[in-house]
């Protein structure tokens, strides 16, 4: 949307993805000139996908330059510095002349990623460093050999953006204050490029939720959160502007050293010409239908939605729930959902329907839509449903209340009874549903149009592009 809307801006898409195999879900506009793809994981060496874009002579030169001496004197100290920075204050990072990730990126413009990370020198240094730190840990966070192996391997994969070439730009804009934002951190340090951080959720909060509930040892949870927190903090420190999509998220950002004057909230917007009010299709007409657009994974709390469907079915036996969204984000969670559907006997009531090719048509299939997330920013799906005049029942997380209050129903998260009861109420009351639907669409037209969002970013881009600073080596203070 942003690329299409800002057709006077040339974009290079820096895509950090989990796997090397990705499908473009949207047609790229002509001003999206180039895609730099950085996959973090894969069946075979992910760094090779990055190397494949380089001339063979450069790849060879990098490998030859990565001698044991270069690793010992160049890379190992940087690794130690990174591990130290994970617990360091802003002042300490500044005093060191800049963040270790930037210096690592510089190192890997001339050296080979795998050779350096997989060197015995690197492993021994990491083990020694972690051994020293272990003395300060509780007994349940003492690392095993497996923990250290996984921890260093996590660094190897998650920091892969540090091996990628950095496209030159007048401005770097990230949509998450996480590992993809490292490109902005490096650009800020290397070239003084202005860096804009947009947060749809709050990455650190979401990491806390997912890492806390993951099947990991105490040591790995701590390590992963220390790393994530450090990376998020670097994003915030280097950003010229942090633009959350909802004011609610600012609370977290302020706690992570974001200066209040750097924050400028820009809410999401939808295209009301695409998301229009349509009658229900033949297929679902005559049956009370609840739709949801959500990838099936834990943060969306689909289990609560399933339980709420059981509550709704008690009053409306013919109710039909359809959840559209990718099923491969967390396969074990999908299986848990399927098992719950079977356990509650909801096979004819609740469908995990997979990806829907037409988001605008998706909401037309239902009478209402539902969002059961336990963490959100300012969800597009809520706005899209509102634009389609389909009233929304959503959990009270992130900026949901900001968008929905007065135009839908907000319920506490993880409360399947409240969610189910609200669905029954709306499905039974045609007048209320129609009224809320109309009101919701008008509200979107007034406040959350794509054009509003694009204009806000246009103004911000123009302002930031003029704020290039000297490269980090030549400036004080280090961070914006």
């Amino acid at each position: 949307m942003l690329c299409s809307g800002l057709d006077e801006v040339d974009f290079t898409i820096y895509a950090v993805t989990a796997a090397p195999e990705v499908r473009l879900r949207y047609e790229l506009p002509p001003n999206a000139r180039r895609i730099v793809h950085v996959p973090l994981w894969g069946a075979v060496e992910p760094p090779d996908y990055i190397l494949a874009e380089l001339p063979a002579a450069e790849v060879r030169a990098r490998r030859e330059a990565t001698t044991p001496e270069a690793i010992e004197s160049g890379f190992v100290p940087l690794l130690g510095r990174l591990l130290g920075e994970m617990h360091a204050a802003r002042a300490d990072i500044e005093a060191g002349g800049g963040p270790a990730v930037w210096l690592m990126w510089r190192f890997f413009q001339h050296h080979d990623w795998r050779t350096a990370w997989k060197s015995p020198l690197t492993w021994r240094a990491f083990v020694a460093e972690m051994g020293l730190a272990a003395a300060e840990r509780d007994d349940d966070e003492q690392p095993t050999v497996d923990d250290l192996t996984n921890a260093l391997q996590l660094l190897y994969n998650l920091l892969l953006p540090l091996s990628a070439p950095l496209p030159r730009a007048d401005l770097v804009h990230t949509t998450i204050a996480g590992f993809p934002g490292l490109a902005g951190v490096i650009a800020c340090c290397e070239h003084g490029t202005p860096f804009l951080v947009t947060e749809h959720g709050v990455w650190v909060r979401e990491r806390y939720i997912s890492v806390s509930t993951a099947s990991l040892s105490g040591f790995l949870k701590r390590f992963l959160m220390d790393l994530s927190t450090h990376v998020a903090r670097l994003n915030y420190l280097c950003a010229a502007v942090v633009s959350p999509v909802t004011g609610y998220n600012v609370r977290w950002e302020l706690h992570y050293d974001v200066a209040a004057e750097k924050v400028q909230a820009i809410p999401n917007g939808v295209d009301p010409a695409v998301f229009v009010s349509r009658p229900k299709p033949e297929e679902t007409r005559g049956r009370p239908t609840v739709v949801a657009a959500a990838r099936i994974f834990a943060l969306k709390d689909i289990e609560t939605m399933i339980r709420s469907a059981a509550v709704a079915r008690e009053s409306l036996p013919e109710v039909d729930y359809r959840v559209y969204g990718a099923l491969d984000a967390d396969p074990p969670y999908v299986e848990r959902c399927r098992a719950l559907i079977a356990e509650l006997g909801l096979e004819d009531t609740f469908a995990l329907a997979g990806h829907h090719s037409n988001p605008a048509g998706l909401f037309a299939e239902g009478d209402i839509s539902v969002l059961s997330s336990i963490s959100e920013g300012f969800p597009f799906t809520v706005l899209e449903s509102m634009a389609c005049a389909r009233p929304v029942i959503a959990t009270d997380v992130g900026g949901v209340r900001e968008a929905l209050e007065g135009f839908g129903i907000v319920v506490p998260p993880r409360d399947h009874v409240a969610l189910g009861a609200a669905a029954v109420r709306l499905l039974r009351d045609d007048d209320l549903r129609a009224h809320l639907g109309r009101q919701a669409r008008e509200h979107v037209l007034a406040r959350y149009r794509t054009a509003h969002m694009v204009d806000a970013y246009r103004e911000l881009y123009g302002r930031l592009a003029d704020r290039r600073r000297p490269a980090l080596a030549d400036r004080e203070p280090v961070f914006a």
Binding site: A19, P20, E21, V22, R23, G42, A43, V44, E45, D48, Y49, L51, A52, K118, P120, W123, R124, V127, M130, G131, A134, D140, Q142, P143, T144, V145, D146, D147, L148, T149, L152, Q153, Y156, V204, R205, E206, Y208, I209, V211, S212, T213, G218, K221, R222, M225, R251, H255, A326, L327, D328, P331, I374, S375, T395, D396, V397, P412, P413, R414, D415
Partner: protein
């Protein structure tokens, strides 16, 4: 900030209830931020923190709940016992049986030779010239295709492991086609050389090339079956090929060449059909983003598969090297002259080590399981114990293999002695009393037993992703095989080439053993580097 209290004193009961909730959701919370995130995901808002708990906001509330949640997580009895982990690998006897299963197709061929007088590529009625030509075809087909087969055996599971079955299917076809193309080029070159040099009659060359191509195709598709663990299909392919050859030869009186070629062709078709159907089915069952999987860069695949390719070529080269050296010694009608007593001695030696070789399959599954267990149980400060345990485990496995080898060798020895004593088996007695056969058997047993121990070392090195260490051990082994075999077979009787096999195997076991000791000393690093 977190931990700062404001306004009214909260009720302790409410905080304890929240702490219990957090402990149930997250276990022991990492810090107060983790508690704040958990509280928000439970629907606790700033307004709730103020109105219900008398705190300034959620962060302030989290600061108060955090120590209570740590306490609650320590008291909490797990709601359910940890699920029993499924066995990571099959039991040792089962794995051993699977290892022995690989010899079943060969055993079927041997049984067919005894019962029908011919197998899929051998016949008791062949002249020495025919047998010699076909023996060259068999050896060449193994050596030329072994590299590709090993590379496929490595690459296929890499994709399978991540559920990208479409890539497994594509890489299988790509490797099969490339392997066939290479085999064809090598076959035509050898055939041309044989014809142009005048060393072989043109008719024999043509026969040899046909056997060579059919066998090359068979080994390649068998590698695909092995890769997808379709063990039953290997037996089915062998049996159906033999059935067709038998029906044509013994039933319809068709010539031996045509019958065997038809049989080999059927084996290839059955194997290809089975592999293709299985691969297709798995690709169709692939869902989500995995369907979009694209091939990694060619250079990556080449680099990763290269050591396995080189290993396969060298290993099968080693298996046939002493025969080539022995059979090219002296003056004969053809440059390579098949020697039945030598072949029988080596075949007997090979049968003797089946038990030991079968046990290697146990190692293949047990080693990764051991490493995983040790990794999870050993504290980082006890790294030395972790590494010593690897070394000790491997030493114990070598002792077990040694015992199995001794048992197998004794079994074959006494079985053949028993056979020789049985009335009516004059031919067996004559064969076994051949001094060349007996000597080749004895030295062959020593060579193969050492090779088996070397392979146990190789399994250890492969399991910690050290394939080049195996290659580095095989190179001097081949050199020793060549040097000793050539020196002794050219200065003494031809069969002294078997000493090359024994010497080479000894070098292999020593060199690979040294590599194992080096890797085991830093098994912690080797495991990390293997990812």
């Amino acid at each position: 900030m977190i931990g700062t209290r404001t306004r009214t004193e909260p009720t302790q009961e409410g905080l304890v209830e929240l702490a219990r909730l957090v402990a149930v959701r997250t276990g022991k919370p990492l810090d107060a931020w983790a508690v704040a995130a958990a509280l928000e995901s439970e629907g606790v808002r700033d307004v709730d923190a103020v109105e219900r708990y008398g705190r300034r906001d959620v962060f302030d509330l989290a600061g108060a709940v955090y120590p209570l949640a740590v306490g609650a997580s320590a008291e909490r009895i797990p709601s359910e016992a940890p699920a029993a982990r499924p066995p990571a690998h099959p039991s040792a006897p089962r794995a051993c049986l699977r290892g022995a299963f690989f010899f079943v197709p060969l055993a079927i061929q041997a049984a067919s030779l005894v019962v029908l007088g011919y197998s899929q590529w051998a016949s008791l009625d062949f002249s020495l010239a025919q047998a010699s030509t076909i023996a060259v075809a068999v050896g060449a087909s193994f050596i030329v295709t072994a590299g590709g087969a090993q590379a496929l055996g490595y690459l296929g599971p890499v994709f399978d492991g991540s559920g990208k079955h479409g890539l497994t299917e594509r890489v299988t076809y790509r490797m099969l086609l490339t392997g066939l193309a290479v085999a064809l080029v090598v076959g035509l070159t050898l055939g041309l050389l044989g014809t142009l040099s005048g060393a072989y009659p043109a008719g024999l060359v043509r026969v040899g090339v046909v056997y060579y191509m059919l066998l090359s195709a068979l080994w390649l598709v068998t590698a695909a079956l092995y890769m997808i663990r379709a063990y039953a299909a290997m037996v089915l392919a062998t049996l159906s090929g033999l059935a067709v050859a038998g029906a044509l030869r013994s039933g319809a009186g068709v010539g031996i060449y045509a019958a065997q070629w038809a049989g080999l062709g059927i084996s290839v078709l059955v194997s290809v059909g089975w592999a293709a159907a299985r691969l297709r089915r798995r690709t169709r069952a692939t869902t989500g983003e995995r369907r979009l999987a694209r091939m990694p860069p060619l250079a990556t695949m080449r680099r990763q598969a290269a050591p396995y390719f080189v290993y396969g070529t060298l290993y099968f080269g080693f298996l046939f090297f002493d025969r080539i050296i022995g059979w090219t010694a002296g003056e004969h009608p053809l440059p390579v002259w098949f020697r039945t007593p030598y072949e029988l001695g080596l075949d007997g030696a090979l049968v003797s080590i089946v038990l030991g070789m079968a046990f290697l399959e146990v190692l293949v599954t047990a080693l990764p399981a051991l490493t995983e267990t040790l990794q999870e149980r050993t504290r980082a400060r006890e790294l030395a114990d972790h590494n010593r345990a690897h070394g000790r485990f491997h030493a114990r496995q070598l002792v077990v293999i040694g015992a199995l080898l001794a048992t197998g060798i004794a079994g074959v020895y006494f079985a053949t002695q028993g056979l020789a004593q049985m009335a009516g088996l004059h031919e067996v007695r004559a064969l076994l009393s051949d001094p060349v056969t007996r000597s080749v058997f004895a030295w062959g047993v020593a060579g193969y037993a050492l090779l088996c121990l070397g392979l146990a070392n190789a399994v250890f090195l492969f399991s910690l992703a050290r394939p080049w260490s195996v290659v580095r051990a095989l190179v001097p082994a081949l050199a020793a095989d060549a040097a000793v075999g050539l020196a002794l077979s050219r200065t003494g009787p031809y069969w002294h080439s078997v000493f090359g096999l024994t010497a080479g195997a000894l070098v292999f076991v020593v060199a690979s053993g040294a590599a194992v000791r080096r890797v085991a000393r830093e098994a912690d690093y080797a495991y990390y580097a293997s990812f």
